[in-house]
Amino acid sequence: MMSWLTSFQCLASAPTETVGTEGGFLVLQVIGVLLGVMGLLFFLGAAVGLLRFPDFYTRMHAAGKGDTLSTMLMLAGFGLVTMEDLSLGSWLLLIKIMAVVLFVYLTSPTSSHALMRAAFEDDELPLTEDDLRNSKRGKRRKKR
Protein backbone atom coordinates (compact mmCIF):
# COMPACT_ATOMS: atom_id res chain seq x y z
CA MET A 1 0.00 0.00 0.00
CA MET A 2 2.79 2.40 0.93
CA SER A 3 4.68 1.78 -2.28
CA TRP A 4 1.50 2.52 -4.20
CA LEU A 5 1.15 5.87 -2.43
CA THR A 6 4.77 6.77 -2.99
CA SER A 7 4.39 5.93 -6.65
CA PHE A 8 1.65 8.51 -7.01
CA GLN A 9 3.68 11.08 -5.12
CA CYS A 10 6.49 10.35 -7.53
CA LEU A 11 4.14 10.89 -10.45
CA ALA A 12 2.98 14.20 -9.02
CA SER A 13 6.35 15.65 -8.13
CA ALA A 14 9.05 14.60 -10.57
CA PRO A 15 8.38 12.11 -13.34
CA THR A 16 11.98 11.98 -14.56
CA GLU A 17 13.42 11.28 -11.13
CA THR A 18 13.32 7.62 -10.16
CA VAL A 19 12.44 7.35 -6.49
CA GLY A 20 14.00 4.26 -4.99
CA THR A 21 11.43 1.47 -5.00
CA GLU A 22 13.45 -1.69 -5.40
CA GLY A 23 12.37 -3.70 -8.44
CA GLY A 24 9.00 -2.21 -9.31
CA PHE A 25 5.83 -1.71 -7.32
CA LEU A 26 4.49 -4.61 -5.32
CA VAL A 27 0.81 -3.87 -5.98
CA LEU A 28 1.26 -3.71 -9.73
CA GLN A 29 3.28 -6.92 -9.66
CA VAL A 30 0.63 -8.76 -7.68
CA ILE A 31 -2.10 -7.59 -10.05
CA GLY A 32 0.08 -8.57 -13.01
CA VAL A 33 0.73 -12.07 -11.63
CA LEU A 34 -3.00 -12.53 -11.00
CA LEU A 35 -3.82 -11.45 -14.56
CA GLY A 36 -1.17 -13.81 -15.94
CA VAL A 37 -2.53 -16.76 -13.96
CA MET A 38 -6.05 -15.96 -15.17
CA GLY A 39 -4.75 -15.89 -18.73
CA LEU A 40 -3.15 -19.30 -18.24
CA LEU A 41 -6.50 -20.58 -16.93
CA PHE A 42 -8.31 -19.34 -20.03
CA PHE A 43 -5.64 -20.84 -22.26
CA LEU A 44 -6.08 -24.13 -20.40
CA GLY A 45 -9.77 -23.94 -21.26
CA ALA A 46 -8.96 -23.28 -24.91
CA ALA A 47 -6.49 -26.19 -25.05
CA VAL A 48 -8.89 -28.63 -23.41
CA GLY A 49 -11.69 -27.51 -25.69
CA LEU A 50 -9.47 -27.93 -28.73
CA LEU A 51 -8.61 -31.42 -27.54
CA ARG A 52 -12.02 -32.67 -26.48
CA PHE A 53 -14.78 -31.08 -28.54
CA PRO A 54 -16.46 -33.27 -31.16
CA ASP A 55 -16.58 -31.25 -34.38
CA PHE A 56 -14.77 -28.42 -36.06
CA TYR A 57 -17.15 -25.58 -35.20
CA THR A 58 -17.21 -26.30 -31.48
CA ARG A 59 -13.43 -26.59 -31.46
CA MET A 60 -13.17 -23.26 -33.21
CA HIS A 61 -15.54 -21.74 -30.67
CA ALA A 62 -13.25 -22.84 -27.83
CA ALA A 63 -10.05 -21.84 -29.58
CA GLY A 64 -11.22 -18.45 -30.85
CA LYS A 65 -12.62 -17.16 -27.58
CA GLY A 66 -10.14 -18.65 -25.14
CA ASP A 67 -7.17 -17.70 -27.27
CA THR A 68 -8.16 -14.04 -27.64
CA LEU A 69 -9.02 -13.44 -23.99
CA SER A 70 -6.01 -15.34 -22.63
CA THR A 71 -3.67 -13.36 -24.88
CA MET A 72 -5.12 -10.12 -23.59
CA LEU A 73 -4.88 -11.16 -19.92
CA MET A 74 -1.34 -12.51 -20.18
CA LEU A 75 0.02 -9.51 -22.08
CA ALA A 76 -1.65 -7.05 -19.68
CA GLY A 77 -0.16 -8.98 -16.75
CA PHE A 78 3.31 -8.81 -18.26
CA GLY A 79 2.87 -5.12 -19.00
CA LEU A 80 2.10 -4.50 -15.33
CA VAL A 81 4.87 -6.77 -14.03
CA THR A 82 7.58 -5.22 -16.16
CA MET A 83 6.59 -1.67 -15.17
CA GLU A 84 9.49 -0.74 -12.94
CA ASP A 85 8.93 2.99 -12.50
CA LEU A 86 6.47 5.58 -13.68
CA SER A 87 8.84 7.21 -16.15
CA LEU A 88 7.91 7.96 -19.74
CA GLY A 89 9.71 4.89 -21.07
CA SER A 90 7.76 2.37 -19.02
CA TRP A 91 4.46 4.08 -19.90
CA LEU A 92 5.40 3.80 -23.57
CA LEU A 93 6.22 0.15 -23.03
CA LEU A 94 2.81 -0.47 -21.45
CA ILE A 95 1.10 1.35 -24.33
CA LYS A 96 3.07 -0.74 -26.84
CA ILE A 97 2.05 -3.99 -25.15
CA MET A 98 -1.56 -2.84 -25.12
CA ALA A 99 -1.18 -2.08 -28.85
CA VAL A 100 -0.29 -5.76 -29.36
CA VAL A 101 -3.42 -6.64 -27.40
CA LEU A 102 -5.55 -4.33 -29.54
CA PHE A 103 -4.06 -5.83 -32.69
CA VAL A 104 -4.79 -9.38 -31.54
CA TYR A 105 -8.32 -8.32 -30.59
CA LEU A 106 -8.87 -7.03 -34.10
CA THR A 107 -7.25 -9.86 -36.01
CA SER A 108 -8.06 -13.04 -34.09
CA PRO A 109 -11.88 -12.89 -34.54
CA THR A 110 -11.38 -11.88 -38.16
CA SER A 111 -9.22 -14.87 -38.95
CA SER A 112 -11.60 -17.15 -37.03
CA HIS A 113 -14.47 -15.81 -39.10
CA ALA A 114 -12.61 -16.30 -42.38
CA LEU A 115 -11.69 -19.85 -41.40
CA MET A 116 -15.27 -20.64 -40.39
CA ARG A 117 -16.58 -19.29 -43.66
CA ALA A 118 -14.05 -21.30 -45.67
CA ALA A 119 -15.02 -24.46 -43.77
CA PHE A 120 -18.74 -23.86 -44.21
CA GLU A 121 -18.46 -23.22 -47.93
CA ASP A 122 -16.29 -26.31 -48.18
CA ASP A 123 -19.23 -28.49 -47.00
CA GLU A 124 -17.80 -29.15 -43.56
CA LEU A 125 -20.99 -30.17 -41.74
CA PRO A 126 -21.66 -29.23 -38.14
CA LEU A 127 -22.44 -32.00 -35.67
CA THR A 128 -26.16 -32.55 -35.11
CA GLU A 129 -28.11 -34.36 -32.43
CA ASP A 130 -28.63 -37.36 -34.71
CA ASP A 131 -24.88 -37.76 -35.12
CA LEU A 132 -24.48 -37.82 -31.36
CA ARG A 133 -27.24 -40.40 -31.03
CA ASN A 134 -25.74 -42.63 -33.70
CA SER A 135 -22.19 -42.40 -32.41
CA LYS A 136 -20.61 -45.16 -30.36
CA ARG A 137 -20.83 -43.27 -27.12
CA GLY A 138 -24.50 -42.49 -27.65
CA LYS A 139 -25.28 -46.17 -28.21
CA ARG A 140 -23.41 -47.05 -25.08
CA ARG A 141 -25.50 -44.56 -23.17
CA LYS A 142 -28.71 -46.03 -24.51
CA LYS A 143 -27.76 -49.53 -23.34
CA ARG A 144 -27.45 -48.28 -19.80
Binding site: G23, G24, Q29, G32, V33, G36, L40, F43, L44, A46, A47, V48, L50, L51, F56, R59, M60, A63, D67, T68, T71, M74, L75, F78, V81, T82, G89, L92, L93, K96, I97, A99, V100, F103, V104, T107, S108, T110, S111, S112, A114, L115, R117, A118, A119, E121, D122, E124
Partner: protein
Protein backbone atom coordinates in the same frame (compact mmCIF):
# COMPACT_ATOMS: atom_id res chain seq x y z
CA UNK B 1 10.62 -12.27 -8.84
CA UNK B 2 9.85 -10.96 -12.30
CA UNK B 3 12.26 -13.48 -13.80
CA UNK B 4 10.74 -16.40 -11.93
CA UNK B 5 7.27 -15.33 -12.99
CA UNK B 6 8.44 -15.19 -16.60
CA UNK B 7 10.12 -18.61 -16.43
CA UNK B 8 7.10 -20.31 -14.86
CA UNK B 9 4.76 -18.60 -17.29
CA UNK B 10 6.81 -19.65 -20.31
CA UNK B 11 7.02 -23.26 -19.10
CA UNK B 12 3.26 -23.36 -18.52
CA UNK B 13 2.63 -21.91 -21.98
CA UNK B 14 4.83 -24.58 -23.55
CA UNK B 15 3.08 -27.30 -21.58
CA UNK B 16 -0.36 -26.08 -22.63
CA UNK B 17 0.74 -25.98 -26.27
CA UNK B 18 1.05 -29.80 -26.30
CA UNK B 19 -2.72 -30.51 -26.71
CA UNK B 20 -2.85 -27.94 -29.50
CA UNK B 21 0.07 -29.69 -31.22
CA UNK B 22 -1.83 -32.96 -30.84
CA UNK B 23 -4.78 -31.34 -32.63
CA UNK B 24 -2.48 -30.20 -35.42
CA UNK B 25 -1.02 -33.70 -35.70
CA UNK B 26 -4.22 -35.74 -35.85
CA UNK B 27 -6.78 -33.08 -36.82
CA UNK B 28 -9.46 -34.75 -38.95
CA UNK B 29 -9.84 -31.82 -41.32
CA UNK B 30 -7.26 -29.38 -42.60
CA UNK B 31 -9.22 -26.55 -40.97
CA UNK B 32 -8.49 -28.03 -37.56
CA UNK B 33 -4.81 -27.91 -38.34
CA UNK B 34 -4.93 -24.30 -39.45
CA UNK B 35 -6.86 -23.44 -36.29
CA UNK B 36 -4.18 -25.06 -34.15
CA UNK B 37 -1.44 -23.24 -36.04
CA UNK B 38 -3.30 -19.98 -35.48
CA UNK B 39 -3.58 -20.59 -31.73
CA UNK B 40 0.09 -21.49 -31.45
CA UNK B 41 1.07 -18.40 -33.45
CA UNK B 42 -0.87 -16.10 -31.13
CA UNK B 43 0.68 -17.76 -28.11
CA UNK B 44 4.14 -17.41 -29.62
CA UNK B 45 3.60 -13.65 -29.69
CA UNK B 46 2.95 -13.84 -25.95
CA UNK B 47 5.98 -16.07 -25.52
CA UNK B 48 8.15 -13.46 -27.24
CA UNK B 49 7.12 -10.90 -24.60
CA UNK B 50 8.00 -13.48 -21.92
CA UNK B 51 11.45 -13.99 -23.47
CA UNK B 52 11.88 -10.22 -23.62
CA UNK B 53 11.17 -10.04 -19.90
CA UNK B 54 13.85 -12.66 -19.29
CA UNK B 55 16.40 -10.69 -21.32
CA UNK B 56 15.34 -7.32 -19.78
CA UNK B 57 14.70 -6.00 -23.28
CA UNK B 58 10.92 -5.96 -23.46
CA UNK B 59 10.77 -2.84 -25.64
CA UNK B 60 12.65 -4.67 -28.40
CA UNK B 61 10.79 -7.97 -28.17
CA UNK B 62 7.38 -6.28 -28.20
CA UNK B 63 8.11 -5.14 -31.74
CA UNK B 64 8.90 -8.73 -32.66
CA UNK B 65 5.60 -9.77 -31.09
CA UNK B 66 3.68 -7.20 -33.17
CA UNK B 67 5.28 -8.36 -36.41
CA UNK B 68 4.73 -12.02 -35.50
CA UNK B 69 1.05 -11.41 -34.80
CA UNK B 70 0.75 -9.61 -38.14
CA UNK B 71 2.38 -12.52 -40.01
CA UNK B 72 0.14 -14.97 -38.18
CA UNK B 73 -3.00 -13.06 -39.17
CA UNK B 74 -1.97 -12.76 -42.81
CA UNK B 75 -1.08 -16.45 -42.93
CA UNK B 76 -4.44 -17.50 -41.47
CA UNK B 77 -6.36 -15.32 -43.94
CA UNK B 78 -4.35 -16.53 -46.93
CA UNK B 79 -4.69 -20.20 -46.03
CA UNK B 80 -8.42 -19.93 -45.38
CA UNK B 81 -8.86 -18.23 -48.78
CA UNK B 82 -6.78 -20.99 -50.34
CA UNK B 83 -8.76 -23.79 -48.71
CA UNK B 84 -12.04 -22.18 -49.69
CA UNK B 85 -13.78 -24.37 -52.26
CA UNK B 86 -10.72 -26.51 -52.80
CA UNK B 87 -11.98 -30.06 -53.32
CA UNK B 88 -9.75 -33.11 -53.43
CA UNK B 89 -9.52 -34.98 -56.71
CA UNK B 90 -11.35 -38.03 -55.35
CA UNK B 91 -14.36 -35.95 -54.24
CA UNK B 92 -14.46 -34.22 -57.59
CA UNK B 93 -14.60 -37.56 -59.43
CA UNK B 94 -17.32 -38.79 -57.09
CA UNK B 95 -19.36 -35.67 -57.73
CA UNK B 96 -18.98 -36.04 -61.47
CA UNK B 97 -20.18 -39.64 -61.23
CA UNK B 98 -23.22 -38.53 -59.24
CA UNK B 99 -24.01 -35.94 -61.85
CA UNK B 100 -23.72 -38.54 -64.62
CA UNK B 101 -26.10 -40.84 -62.75
CA UNK B 102 -28.67 -38.10 -62.33
CA UNK B 103 -28.65 -37.40 -66.01
Amino acid sequence: MTHWFAIIMGAALFTLMIPVIYRIWVGPTSFDRILGVNVIGTKTAVLLVVIGTLFDRVEMFVDFAISYALLNFVGAIVISRYLNRTISLKDMEAREKEGARKR
